[in-house]
């Protein structure tokens, strides 16, 4: 049904000629001290920054550029400056007990930062350049984690709250997306999007701009350097290059600022678990800074155990975010209800059954009229207004339009108590568990105490021949461990 909300929202936006809000709560944190930046790379040099506009929310940017990023010494000078800026910011966040947050325009910007994170951490680079790489590596590591609040894309943040009357791919162009969210009164959103769609809002310059403006300037600069022209002359060319690059980076920076303003202006209540997501962010950041202090940094590629742990953590983050959205936002609950993941119904029977000498088991039956219901025996369901109360489904019976769900109370009986007959329940399939990082690590360490044979060098276990009954099948199985 989440898809249906998107479908209906897009149809509605198309009809209205402007974006439609599809979120009841704000799902991303806008950190007051967040950095906003619009890095632009040179075409063909994917591991470069040609120009960057950088600042804070609501503040005009500082523009930094290199005349020609293909010249390593010039590029490293810029990266060193950015490294100092970022490191100061990170230290400030640590001292304030908070976490760093960076806003960029869209997905290509996160890709650029990811590439730079790898390239700039080469041991041959200047320490401050490597430090910039470390900071970017942290951001890039956090970005794929569901619910992270460190590296934010303006398009991603807006798309969690609005849908437009164009395709999702076009929504990744920040200018087009903003055209739909706040269209100009003098033209339609479609006309505006078509017009601004020609302005680059990612990390690349327009090929025509490169051909007509930048290439001639860079040739002039290269020739001047080769001739050994005066520093004043070189500086003058550099200023011209800088001015033309600023005309590329500045609109992107402004677009990001506008996106943040639009989100703030929607004045949505915060998602209930947003503080928990931010707490996770602080914990992850503190862990990173401790590792840096100890002389470690994020490796470029993970060993198997670390990779398995990170994969488990990402899956856990996805599960937690999903649960947080269902429990903490109205639209999430409605979507999950329509999908049949949230079970809503009336309690029709509560029985107390003695178990053993002093034990008791509480059986609960509820009836639901939902058209779509995804529940089966063995599922755990949690009461949405009291997540500590957990039910275990023991049976599901559908008769006509009514589904009877039989459950027993698994936990929370003492703290919450059994529901009364006639009361209405909304039951969710999962609840977020924000404090289980240690459990995940212990689980992975336990399971991977011995590396499986697939990750060990040496002989693979012998294959069992067909048609021959093994004398000891269990021994053969054990050999595969």
């Amino acid at each position: 049904m989440g898809c249906d909300l998107d479908l209906v929202g897009r149809l509605g936006a198309y009809e209205r000629g402007r974006a439609v809000r599809i979120a009841s709560h704000q799902k991303v944190a806008i950190h007051p001290s967040a950095m906003v930046m619009s890095p632009v790379a040179m075409a063909g040099e994917d591991a470069s920054i040609h120009v960057i506009a950088i600042g804070n929310i609501g503040i005009s940017p500082a523009i930094r550029f290199v005349p020609d990023p293909r010249m390593r010494d010039l590029g490293d000078r810029l990266y060193g400056e950015l490294g100092m800026l970022f490191w100061e910011y990170f230290l400030g966040c640590r001292d304030a007990g908070t976490y760093p947050q960076i806003w960029v325009s869209s997905r290509p910007a996160t890709t650029l930062l990811d590439i730079l994170a790898d390239v700039l951490r080469s041991p041959r680079r200047d320490p401050m350049v490597r430090r910039f790489g470390d900071c970017l590596a942290y951001m890039s590591e956090r970005h794929p984690v569901a619910g992270q609040q460190a590296l934010m894309t303006a398009t991603g943040a807006l798309r969690q709250h609005f849908v437009t009357g164009q395709s999702p791919e076009e929504d990744e162009h920040l200018g087009k997306l903003l055209s739909w969210i706040s269209p100009s009164p003098s033209e339609t959103a479609v006309e505006s999007a078509a017009r601004v769609g020609k302005i680059p809002m990612g990390t690349k310059t327009d090929p025509k701009f490169d051909r007509d403006v930048l290439d001639p300037l860079l040739r002039k600069y290269e020739n001047a350097r080769r001739r050994g022209d005066t520093p004043a002359f070189l500086a003058a060319i550099e200023r011209t290059i800088g001015a033309s690059l600023e005309s590329v980076a500045f609109p992107i920076y402004e677009g990001i600022q506008r996106a943040i303003r639009e989100l703030s202006a929607a004045s949505l209540p915060m998602m209930t678990d947003l503080p928990a997501l931010e707490a996770k962010e602080i914990a992850a950041f503190n862990s990173f800074m401790e590792a840096i202090d100890a002389g470690f940094s994020i490796p470029k590629s993970d060993k198997p155990k670390v990779a398995a742990r990170k994969l488990e953590e990402r899956e856990d983050a996805e599960k937690n975010l999903r649960a947080a959205i269902i429990l903490g936002t109205t639209t999430g609950q409605v979507a999950a209800n329509a999908k049949g993941e949230v079970v809503s119904g009336k309690v029709t029977d509560v029985q107390v059954i003695p178990v053993g000498i002093r034990g008791r088991m509480h059986r609960v039956e509820m009836q639901s009229e939902q058209r779509v219901l995804r529940v089966r025996a063995g599922d755990r369901l949690y009461r949405m207004d009291e997540p500590r109360l957990c039910f275990l489904v023991t049976g599901v019976q559908r008769t006509g339009r009514t589904t009877t769900v039989s459950m027993r109370i698994r936990s929370g009986m003492r703290s919450i108590g059994a529901p009364s007959i006639g009361s209405f329940l909304d039951l969710a399939p999962e609840v977020p568990d924000w404090g289980n990082d240690m459990q995940i690590r212990m689980k992975i360490n336990r399971r991977l105490a011995n590396l499986p044979w697939t990750h060990m060098s040496g002989n693979t276990p012998r294959a069992i021949r067909k048609g021959v009954t093994p004398l000891d099948p269990l021994a053969d199985l054990e050999m595969l461990r």
Binding site: L5, V8, G9, L11, D114, Q166, E169
Partner: protein, 376 residues
């Protein structure tokens, strides 16, 4: 002697000069089998950029940055410098070539030249080398740099220039190698970059198969399997990485496109005859008569994407809202009809699929208006 199709294609183009599509042109035309417009333009020798700029006068939306072109040229040059030293290193590191398998023939422009006669020479030399390999000649080269082959369309050869062809002594025939300066980020490598590189390789694979078929060789598909090698760039430098890619689907799509081309020519001529006898594809209304199949991915490779989107929008096509919605609303057909179901107005749904979609849309609509403070 010009083939009988030459004149037909010339008439289709009118005053426009023929443009070689190259591997990129062929693979783009094959990407969207439902778009007859792109396919007709390609077979007629008109690029989408020319159609956009000179026929529709929308302004050119194609063209690479000179920096990207320069970076690509430099990366290629670095791989093939010193008789393909780095490429050999890659293949030896991957145990694809041994130290003794180092027979290299360099047919690049630097070595041979860029005049028309030089191009013919490159082609004939390439053919000779391919025949050597086919005949099992032990002195056949292991690496051919910048060979020149051709793919035939209506019997007219269109030249292609794969970056290299590679074969060990034990290989039956050559494999296509494409060198691309896209950054290699392992699992995070840009999918559209990979897609483009694989599809270009597929065109060369089909061309090699055609060459074998023309030479009377049986089972060209087994001798030239649907596999290609990609050499991508390690970010931050000019070192390459080698990847073997299976390109079965890509080869199939190119072959399917080539199979459909006879009908395209007849359709194109039929359209012109019907609309404006004696005119050509150089007129906008003639081009507008060809069906298109707008998808959001068209933007990735076609200069006419914006124009097609406008057309799809005027046709009330749900494709303007994205591929997923296009598929969801397939049973309904148009955006207007979907909106009618949403608001419970207009002609009621008649078919079961329409009825199911109508219920779904109305339910979703009422839930959305419930939960957001301003309705639709």
């Amino acid at each position: 002697m010009p083939s009988k199709f030459h004149n037909r294609l010339q008439l289709l183009r009118g005053n426009l000069a023929a443009e070689e599509p190259g591997a990129r042109g062929f693979e783009k035309a094959a990407r969207n089998p439902g778009c007859q417009l792109l396919q007709v333009l390609t077979v007629a020798g008109i690029s989408p950029g020319t159609a956009s700029e000179r026929i529709f006068r929308c302004g050119a939306a194609e063209g690479q940055s000179p920096f990207a072109i320069g970076a690509g040229i430099q990366f290629e040059a670095a791989q093939f410098r010193n008789s393909g030293g780095r490429v050999l290193q890659l293949y030896r590191g991957a145990n694809r070539l041994t130290m003794s398998e180092s027979r290299i023939v360099d047919l690049s422009l630097d070595n041979i030249g860029a005049q028309k006669a030089d191009m013919s020479r490159r082609k004939s030399e390439t053919m000779a080398l391919l025949k050597m390999k086919l005949a099992g000649d032990p002195t056949a080269p292991n690496l051919i740099i910048k060979p020149r082959i051709s793919i035939k369309l209506y019997g007219i050869p269109h030249d292609l220039e794969p970056d290299a062809l590679v074969a060990s002594d034990s290989d039956r025939f050559y494999r296509v190698v494409e060198v691309k300066s896209y950054p290699d980020r392992a699992g995070k490598t840009c999918p559209s970059d990979l897609r483009s590189a694989c599809r270009q390789s597929a065109v060369s694979v089909v061309a090699l198969r055609q060459i074998l078929d023309a030479s009377g060789v049986r089972d060209s598909g087994a001798i030239v399997p649907a596999v290609a090698d990609l050499i991508l760039r390690k970010p931050g430098g000019y070192w390459g990485t080698l990847h073997t890619m299976k390109i079965k689907a890509e080869v199939h799509s190119i072959e399917a496109f080539l199979l459909a081309t006879p009908f395209l020519l007849d359709t194109a001529e039929g359209n012109i005859e019907r609309l404006s006898p004696g005119s050509s594809l150089g007129e906008p209304r003639v081009l507008d008569a060809f069906p298109t199949c707008y998808r959001d991915t068209c933007r990735e490779f076609c200069a006419l994407a914006d124009r097609c989107k406008q057309r799809a929008s005027s046709e009330d096509n749900p494709a303007t809202l994205g591929s997923r919605i296009r598929e969801e609303l397939a049973s309904i057909g148009t955006i207007t009809r979907a909106l009618d179901f949403l608001h419970g107005r207009g002609v009621p749904p008649s078919k079961p699929a329409e009825q199911a979609m109508a219920i779904r849309l109305k339910e979703a609509y009422s839930r959305l208006t419930e939960v957001v403070s301003h309705g639709l």
